[in-house]
Subunit: 339 residues, 2 copies
């Protein structure tokens, strides 16, 4: 099969790779219908994380082509959505809703789903079948559920977005934008998107943002305070992962408020004393997307939400290098790869 | 009146200080019945925080002797308990339960309640009257409610202690011990006190601890994991405020679990990436004791709880220096000063 390999920082190649096979009786093999490039794929692409001939990709939707002997919840022919962590969905941690930290968790990024096929470990716990074969126009949204929507949704939940709440969103990438969508669905009264890009502002407003703040850092914090009677937002979604974005999120939150942070931390150190006196709640990490998949698939299937709008570039798998370059250069928010 | 002044690190003096008077119509004056020395008073005492002729003390119970024209909820003669932050209890932050971050918050430590009298700002929002004049044996427990009990209680709530939960407690000072009591009251199934002092272990067991762990740091974390099927505790109370204690708390918590931290941070920097992948909830800060006072007074008044047991040294105000020295040298867990 064909699959994406990052040879070294900046060099994306589509190569012949071995067809995946069932290894464990709990495995499934899926023929991937669509995959995409994640903001976090840019860390190794830019050399900020190690990159030495690594398979790429952890987002996927597709059709089951084979199952191991122990698999019971999905069948060959099912169209499925899965998370970027494989999980058994039965251990105590999974049952508490933290499937990304399942005691048997496996990282899909190590398998690499920017490819024609993928082996999905712990298929029963990882995959959720759609009610039937999806209309083609639903595929981008279902693919979004696999990571960016699930992650934005988790951030909104972690930030305790809900009725009556003012939610600020730090980061206008796909996850931040879908955090806006999630906050809207969760009933937030006011949603402040922090963005200085006209196209992303437009999408944020479409997804439910009520206010746009262009300022960043301390100026951004000042602006959020101005918009919230000096108190700060009840809920802040952090979807970047830098020191600046984390401090912007923490400082934009009122005492007793909640920060939901999902940007993968890079060189972040949180000052204990400031955090202490902030009085905020801090929760985040790798999103337990599996927790939300049934609900998200339902909302997509019923066409209540259209998270697939975050994809503003669609290319065939063979042009993966162009997709990476476009996202790296911010010519695209999120690139979908058709397979 | 007589009152405690920290002249410089290590030098506690009881001096003549001006009698407090009503300044704002929202003030009350109380005649202090009992006050005490806080673990946090040891920071300036040890020179870890600035100390240059500062009034000391922020814990207090006593009898109202005068009220300002605007005070309506307490009357002269009432026996009252207050928090170490004065708060209006009406602003949006107070109403959300974060009175320690009230928009009009005033720090009682700047007034100094290790004294015969104290001015209490925002009396209506700060003070809670007991149902009547307390029996003498209830005074230590009511005094504990003013800070250490309220703080331990907040930590237990912030850590989401509750039925079915395993709660670990880092720190065996008065706050940690009362965190054990709080976790017990909140219905925790298992309470692991981390302590290596026999007398404190004994009190922890009396307050409801089911297990004692003597190991600290990574060894302590390993022990907590062993006791919790490899997962970590659901809830961890942090009541120290150092880098080691914070990391011990975070690492002892299972993914999706909760850390409630109330030790005032000193030279703490939390590593972003480790925190991210921990998947825990982190909440804490200066406890909004006022939120819990009515409930705590009730539990004490009905003799359901006896938090006053944390006081293992009682001295008259004039011997405040001895009280500080005893706590500094760990000869006492918590020293009460009679006035």
């Amino acid at each position: 099969m064909r699959g994406v390999i990052l040879s070294k920082p900046g060099v994306v190649q589509v190569e012949d790779r071995p067809d995946p096979v069932i290894i464990e009786p709990t495995d499934a093999i899926i023929k991937i219908a669509a995959t995409c490039v994640c903001g976090s794929d840019l860390w190794p692409y830019r050399g900020d994380d190690p990159a030495d001939r690594i398979p790429m990709g952890h987002e996927y939707v597709g059709t089951v082509t084979a199952i191991g002997a122990a698999v019971t919840s999905v069948a060959v022919g099912d169209f499925v959505v899965g998370s970027f962590f494989a999980s058994d969905n039965t251990c105590e941690i999974c049952q508490a809703g933290y499937q990304s930290r399942c005691v048997h968790a496996q990282v899909m990024g190590e398998i690499g789903t920017q490819a024609e096929y993928a082996r999905i470990p712990l298929a029963d716990g990882t995959l959720v079948a759609t009610p039937g074969a999806p209309d083609a126009d639903l595929i981008p949204s279902l693919l979004a559920a696999s990571d960016v929507l699930g992650t934005g949704w988790f951030a909104a939940v972690a930030a305790e977005s809900g009725p009556g709440k003012t939610v600020a969103v730090v980061g206008d990438g796909a996850v931040g934008l879908l955090g806006v969508l999630a906050a809207k669905q969760l009933g937030a009264r006011r949603i402040i998107a922090m963005s200085r890009h006209a196209d992303r502002q437009k999408l944020a407003l479409e997804f439910g943002a009520t206010d746009i703040v262009e300022e960043r850092g301390d100026d951004g914090v000042t602006k959020i305070k101005e918009l919230t009677g000096g108190l700060g937002a009840h809920s802040v979604i952090e979807a970047v992962g830098t020191q600046e974005s984390m401090m912007q999120a923490i400082r934009s939150t009122r005492p007793g408020g909640h920060v939901g942070y999902v940007g993968v931390s890079h060189d972040v150190d949180l000052p204990g004393l400031e955090l202490f006196f902030s009085g905020i709640h801090l929760h985040g990490g790798p999103a337990p997307v599996r927790r939300f998949l049934p609900e998200l698939i339902d909302l997509i299937w019923n066409r209540t939400i259209d998270p697939g709008k975050v994809f503003d570039l669609t290319l065939p798998l063979e042009q993966a290098a162009d997709a990476y370059a476009a996202m790296d250069q911010r010519r695209a928010t999120k690139a979908l790869l058709t397979v």
